[in-house]
């Protein structure tokens, strides 16, 4: 019988099950620790913070937890590849690279988000109960009336950060969290300096200094007051010369929907090329 060497539902199911059997202790322990830390953090916010009575007041704690826990959890992916015996066991198990990669991807995205929301919900409910017992008040759910567009951008950013970290775990077998952040910082700094070169080439006369720019955002320029042949006078007013809408809209669209899949694809190919 011809075997599908890319993706087979049965094999994927068996691999997913095996992954859960191998890691269930770690996942259960993580859920308990995460709920505990979130509860302590929320109690700290509720009792120490000034006048917390709305659900939206908990959003900063929620987002900090989402990013810190999510990215730390993702940085633990493919940990086995940092250990020779475990790496050999992982790479020689008869499942395709795609099945192995998808398992990790699903667990670090959908799996993590489900567990994190369950942990946060439990922590909020426990925190609310303690608040009611101590102060006799409840938190008001104002999020039901807020526009999701105002905070949904955090999820787009979270997926980008997750994809960067996941890719980092395959490039760096050890200390991937720190190394990936360092490389990301270098990448951003590199882009910033390359952008500054082009900004200087095109807008040197109008820029107060080379730092008055940021890649994909725009350039701060001095507004010309009077332009005559050979004489240009400037005001002291800086204006932001931003990207035109027809340029930033596709960029924003690509950033929201294409960057994570592109990074996941790069990570998948890195897994395929992994040697031990």
């Amino acid at each position: 019988m011809q075997v599908n060497n890319i993706l087979s539902a049965n094999r994927f199911g068996a691999y997913f099950k095996k992954h859960l059997v191998d890691n269930y202790r770690f996942y259960i322990l993580s859920l308990i620790v995460l709920t505990g830390i979130l509860l302590i953090a929320l109690l700290f916010v509720l009792f120490i913070g000034p006048n917390i009575n709305l659900y939206s007041d908990l959003l900063p704690s929620y987002l900090v937890g989402l990013y810190v826990a999510g990215l730390l959890f993702t940085s633990k992916s493919f940990n086995e590849l940092g250990n020779k015996p475990q790496g050999m066991d992982y790479l020689l198990l008869p499942a395709s690279h795609l099945e192995k990669f998808l398992t990790t991807l699903l667990i670090t995205t959908i799996g993590f988000l489900i567990v994190y929301h369950a942990a946060f919900f439990l922590a909020v409910k426990a925190g609310e109960s303690i608040l009611f017992i101590r102060k006799g008040t409840h938190l008001i759910n104002d999020l039901a009336y807020s526009k999701p567009e105002t905070w949904i951008v955090n999820y787009y950013l979270w997926f980008i950060a997750q994809a960067i970290l996941l890719m980092g775990t395959l490039y760096f077998n050890k200390y991937s969290f720190i190394k990936t952040f360092f490389c990301f910082f270098l990448f951003i700094a590199g882009m910033y300096f390359i952008n500054s070169i082009f900004a200087e080439i095109f807008f040197h006369k109008y820029m107060a200094d080379w730092k008055q720019q940021f890649p994909f955002i725009g350039i701060n320029i001095l507004l010309p007051l009077k332009m005559e042949a050979g004489i240009t006078e400037y005001t002291n007013n800086f204006v932001m010369l931003g990207l035109p809408k027809k340029a930033w809209q596709p960029l924003l669209f690509a950033g929201k929907y294409f960057i994570p899949p592109i990074l996941w694809t790069v990570a998948y190919f890195k897994l395929r090329d992994k040697e031990i």
Partner: protein, 277 residues
């Protein structure tokens, strides 16, 4: 079964481990892969398993290029590495998790191998010694019934009775469809087990012969005086006399001494090559 053509590989630039290495291994045989420390035995086995990629040439196993690690290839190959990993579960849970990936896995055979090695089946893998864990892995490897079975230093960490048990189970497991490759530096552990000897040295395969051919062409004996032994390829002195390897011009029957053969091949490569070609 396993075909390596013109393989080049190095861990560092200008320091090649393999250069134009060629090797063909057939089904139905047990190959003993011998070599000095650092000769590249483990690296060659990793090439066969697709854990390392050729920098030149090609390594094919059952028609599959090993480097792609396709599931159809992996389910027909099992590698027992020198340093191995077993999850912290009971044996039964290990089997439940891993066996579904090997279509020819036999639970009955697995139990029989464990029994042969005297491993209690209800014990957690974490509570076992290194040797016991290795025996579990060897039992599992044999029970998968994969066509290619690659073992890197399988007798390391096994006690003396276990080494005999190992030889017994491997000898029983070989079939016409199966190719078993065992790499070791403890050459005596493979006595009476392997039917083909492969010696790797100086980036390439320097010797690859069937044991019957070795018996035909070489003679292993102990003599009181080396000078009277004839065309000596290698000699080693002990209290009992001088163990020698000579050209078997008189068609004498002798038992292969792996260690002596290995040393003879490395010390007299030209003479050995002349005798066998």
């Amino acid at each position: 079964m396993i075909s390596i053509q013109n393989l080049s590989f190095s861990y560092r630039k200008n320091k090649p481990l393999f250069e134009g290495l060629n090797l063909d291994l057939q089904a139905g045989c047990i190959y003993g892969l011998l070599g000095k420390n650092g000769a590249g035995k483990s690296s060659l086995l990793k090439q066969m398993a697709g854990l390392l990629f050729p920098q030149g040439g090609v390594c094919k196993v059952m028609g599959y290029e090993a480097r792609y690690r396709q599931p159809d290839f992996l389910r027909n190959l099992f590698m027992v590495p020198e340093e191995f990993y077993l999850p912290q579960v009971q044996i039964s849970n290990y089997v439940k998790a891993y066996a579904p990936f090997y279509p020819d896995f036999s639970n009955k055979s697995f139990r029989e191998y464990l029994e042969e090695f005297q491993i209690p089946t209800d014990q957690r893998l974490t509570e076992m010694s290194y040797g016991q864990k290795k025996k579990v892995l060897i039992s599992f490897a044999l029970a998968t019934n994969t066509k290619a079975l690659i073992m890197d230093e399988p007798t390391n960490g096994l006690d003396i009775p276990s080494k005999s048990q190992f030889r017994k189970v491997i000898a029983a497991a070989v079939s016409d469809e199966k190719c078993i490759v065992i790499s070791t530096h403890q050459v005596r552990d493979l006595d009476n087990l392997i039917d083909n000897i492969v010696i790797i040295d100086d980036h390439k395969i320097v010797f690859r012969q069937h044991v019957d051919t070795v018996n035909d062409k070489l003679c292993f004996k102990t003599v009181s005086q080396v000078e009277n032994a004839g065309s000596v390829l290698y000699a080693s002195s002990s209290l009992r006399g001088h163990a020698v390897v000579t050209e078997n011009t008189d068609k004498e029957q002798s038992r292969i001494d792996m260690e002596m053969l290995f040393n003879a091949v490395l010390e007299q490569p030209e003479r050995i090559s002349k005798i066998f070609n």
